[in-house]
């Protein structure tokens, strides 16, 4: 934070050409008036801006409750209010809580993943940390985190979206986003730690190659990626894992911001730990990782938010198979394809439902986002 600038009551007297002190009361009055005018102007501008910034979103929400005609209209306030557009989105969706033994592999996977999750949690709880404070706080937090993750996984498994497009698309996107958040963060941390903390042959070369590769427009390679995924059977019906694979495979290239962060952690920390006999791996997870919390959260946030807006490649990989669409592809088709007449209000409703969780998440983690982008901008 900026230091408080002391109020120095000094002005330049141009006629006299000297600096002299001004009587505090007199000066304060005129200054206050000026200040008030400036502030009033700023408030006006900010209020105007807020209106411009919020209007489209307010309109979007209002349109999603419009009952008359599903198409576009040239007014904002609906004449008939309705929840039908939202109802339409969830038509056919079901929430099943009983075991469906249709697919043995899926049952095995679910049971195994849950067992691993529970085992991991028990391990967390039983771990004996050196630090007594960590015991009470850290363990419970970790356990709750695992619990939340399990809850989410089980929730996803329980939603039966086979008959409901929107829920299906939402779930697809959620799954992609979760995987991307975890895997991309892992990749980014690996690369940025190696490039920041270690010095080895080819390090500069790697950084330069990444810089050069970044200058090629991404869409160029879309068709090749499509056929690579097809070779692996990850298009159309397999588009969801395919998209995860593609967006995670090259994610190490986005190492720059977190490398910049690692660079600011003093190297002496590593060195003293290594003198104590710690391996690089131990330094990585027991010294650097705890300090890198803000950048880890930033990377997770970015990884999670990205897939929600991915239209181009997602539609290219999943074409002709609506069960594999993500929300962006599905909703984009509703407004920009002639087959879907009168889907505009439904698009608005879908947009609202997608925007709310993302916005809440973003607002909650805004602090880390600011830290990330500021650090990234300063370092380039």
């Amino acid at each position: 934070m900026a230091k408080q600038i002391p109020e120095v009551d000094i002005v330049v007297d141009e006629k006299a050409g000297v600096i002299r002190e001004v009587q505090p009361e007199k000066k304060l009055r005129s200054k206050k008036g000026h200040e008030r005018r400036v502030n009033a102007t700023i408030y006006t501008i900010l209020i105007l801006m807020s209106i411009i910034w919020l209007c489209p979103f307010v309109f979007l929400v209002l349109q999603s409750f419009r009952g008359e005609s599903g198409g576009q209209v040239a007014y904002v306030i609906p004449k008939q209010w309705t929840l039908d557009n939202y109802r339409f989105l969830f038509e056919g969706a079901a929430f099943s809580v009983q075991l469906l033994f249709k697919d043995t592999l899926a049952v095995v996977l679910t049971v195994v993943s849950n067992l691993i999750g529970i085992a991991g949690m028990v391990a967390f709880l039983r771990r004996k940390p050196k630090n007594p404070i960590e015991k009470s706080e850290g363990n419970l937090k970790a356990a709750l985190l695992v619990f939340a993750a399990l809850l989410l996984v089980n929730f996803i498994r329980c939603v039966d979206s086979s008959n409901c497009d929107f829920v299906r698309w939402f779930m697809n996107t959620l799954i992609i986003a979760l995987f991307c958040a975890v895997i991309q963060t892992f990749m980014v941390l690996c690369v940025s730690y190696a490039l920041s903390r270690m010095r080895f042959k080819g390090r500069k070369l790697i950084m330069n190659v990444v810089l050069v590769l970044g200058m090629f427009p991404g869409f160029l390679t879309m068709i090749v990626l499509y056929y690579l995924l097809k070779m692996l059977g990850l298009t159309q019906a397999g588009a969801v894992p395919g998209l995860i694979l593609v967006s995670c495979a090259s994610s190490g290239m986005g190492y720059y911001i977190s490398k910049g962060f690692f660079d600011t952690i003093p190297k002496s920390l590593d060195e003293s730990a290594r003198i104590d006999g710690a391996t690089r791996l131990q330094v990585f997870y027991s010294i650097i990782m705890p300090m890198a919390k803000p950048i880890v959260i930033y990377t997770i946030l970015m990884g999670f938010m990205g897939p929600w807006g991915d239209y181009v490649f997602a539609s290219y990989v999943a074409f002709g198979h609506k069960a594999s669409y993500n929300v962006a592809v599905g909703l984009y088709r509703w407004v920009n394809t002639n087959d879907y007449q009168g889907y505009f209000t439904r698009f608005c409703a879908g947009g609202v439902l997608v925007a709310i969780p993302i916005t809440l998440l973003f607002m909650a983690l805004q602090k880390y986002y600011v830290e990330g982008v500021t650090g990234g901008a300063v370092k380039g």
Binding site: Q72, D103, V122, N154, R157, C158, T235, D339, Q341, Y343
Partner: protein
């Protein structure tokens, strides 16, 4: 305590909630049709299976991929595309050129030729080879209007005046190679291409660079300048509809919008000539197959889905106008407001032939230039130059 609580909660939840979504099963035959006809097509496939016990065990999946998207999706990867897919006529050339269509089984071709109207039969052919099954004959456009606003739907000038007075808009898509021909053909011009059996463009017959062409261009400029005109042809995107040049697929939307004042008729006249245009078709195509049995199944299914009974049923379900001659004679079809408006317009139209993909882009460019008011101050001579460029560029698409 907290530990145990968390543990118990997790256990309970994990055991109770291990519900499983059922895995997708890939069918042997994949069909792409417009969203509106997915359920209809599914039902018809079941009927087909009942009729043909030899195909009773075949798995058919129906995906919503509209006539507009089908071609570009097919071309992305023919192998992953649908085995049977619906598309609009303008895509036929692209699809044949890229090898995304197999020629129709000769026996089926005979049936198609005998039972469908002549325009649709010639539309599914490239040279002498038939590449698709006609599905509808309604891919043309005409005028929907609001009876309470438009008093004289026979003249564009009157329509514009009425709508302007009532504060309503007249929708007509100027920047589309499809709607644009209403002006050019109406004013007496031609633009047709010839193709060989493989879909390659061999020749063009075009006289846009003529006095009649200038006349048509000036009508378009006049329409674009009118404050009541809005460029567009999608009824559900129209926010202030007084009149719209649109097709049968939007009939339900327009009907809902206008209610009692719903009316439809042939296109009006403009500058003293009757607007013309395309009469087009929608069709079903079969993708090339390397498995003979599958090809046979596809042939049979495609023929069935475009048969008289199914075309009639399709009209009843979603209002698409049949190409089958017998189906066209049914009373319900004849009584349909939109379809009869289309029928009265078709006498001024030419059957839509084959056009290269670049033509549609070029026409959009011309239309966009008109909408951007670039030609407002042009003299006849300058307009002629524009049309000469148009014609020459259109001629450069001949691949031979």
């Amino acid at each position: 305590m907290k530990k145990i609580l968390a543990l118990v909660l997790t256990l309970v939840f994990a055991l109770s909630c291990a519900g499983l979504a059922s895995a997708d099963f890939d069918g042997e035959i994949k069909i792409w049709v417009a969203e509106a006809t997915v359920e209809f097509t599914k039902a018809q496939v079941e009927a087909f299976k009942a009729e043909h016990p030899e195909y009773a065990n075949m798995t058919v999946t129906v995906e919503p991929v509209g006539e507009g998207d089908a071609a570009s999706n097919m071309l992305t990867d023919v192998e992953a595309g649908a085995d049977i897919f619906g598309f609009a006529q303008d895509q036929l050339g692209r699809l044949v050129g890229a090898g995304a269509l197999v020629d129709v089984l000769p026996e089926n071709a005979e049936i198609v030729a005998a039972t469908n109207d002549a325009g649709s039969v010639s539309a599914v052919k490239m040279g002498d080879v038939m590449y698709a099954y006609p599905m509808t004959s309604d891919n043309g456009y005409f005028l929907y209007y609001d009876k309470s606003v438009v008093t004289d739907p026979t003249s564009m000038e009157a329509i514009l005046a009425d709508c302007e007075a009532a504060g309503k808009s007249v929708y007509m898509e100027i920047n589309s190679g499809w709607y644009q021909t209403a002006f050019f053909f109406g004013a007496g011009n031609t633009l047709t291409y010839s193709t060989d059996d493989t879909g390659a463009i061999t020749a063009m017959d075009c006289n846009y660079a003529s006095e009649n062409g200038v006349k048509a261009l000036k009508s378009m400029i006049k329409l674009a300048q009118s404050p009541a005109h809005v460029n567009g042809s999608s009824a559900s995107n129209a926010t202030n509809l007084g009149a719209i040049v649109d097709g049968t697929w939007d009939a339900a939307v327009v009907k809902e919008m206008l209610g009692e004042n719903y009316a439809a008729t042939k296109l009006p006249t403009i500058d003293g000539y009757q607007l013309g245009g395309f009469g087009g078709f929608k069709m079903l195509g079969v993708k090339p197959q390397d498995d003979e049995d599958k090809l046979a199944a596809c042939d049979a299914l495609a023929l069935y889905l475009t048969s008289e009974a199914v075309q009639t049923a399709r009209f009843e379900a979603v209002g698409w106008g049949p190409s089958n001659l017998n189906a066209q004679q049914s009373d319900a079809v004849k009584a349909d407001v939109a379809l009869s408006a289309l029928a009265s317009q078709l006498q001024y139209c030419i059957g839509q032939g084959q056009y290269p993909g670049e033509y549609w882009t070029l026409a959009t460019a011309l239309g966009d230039d008109i909408l951007a008011d670039k030609y407002d101050a042009y003299t006849d001579e300058q307009l002629m130059e524009v049309l000469t460029t148009f014609q020459t560029t259109a001629g450069s698409y001949i691949t031979k």
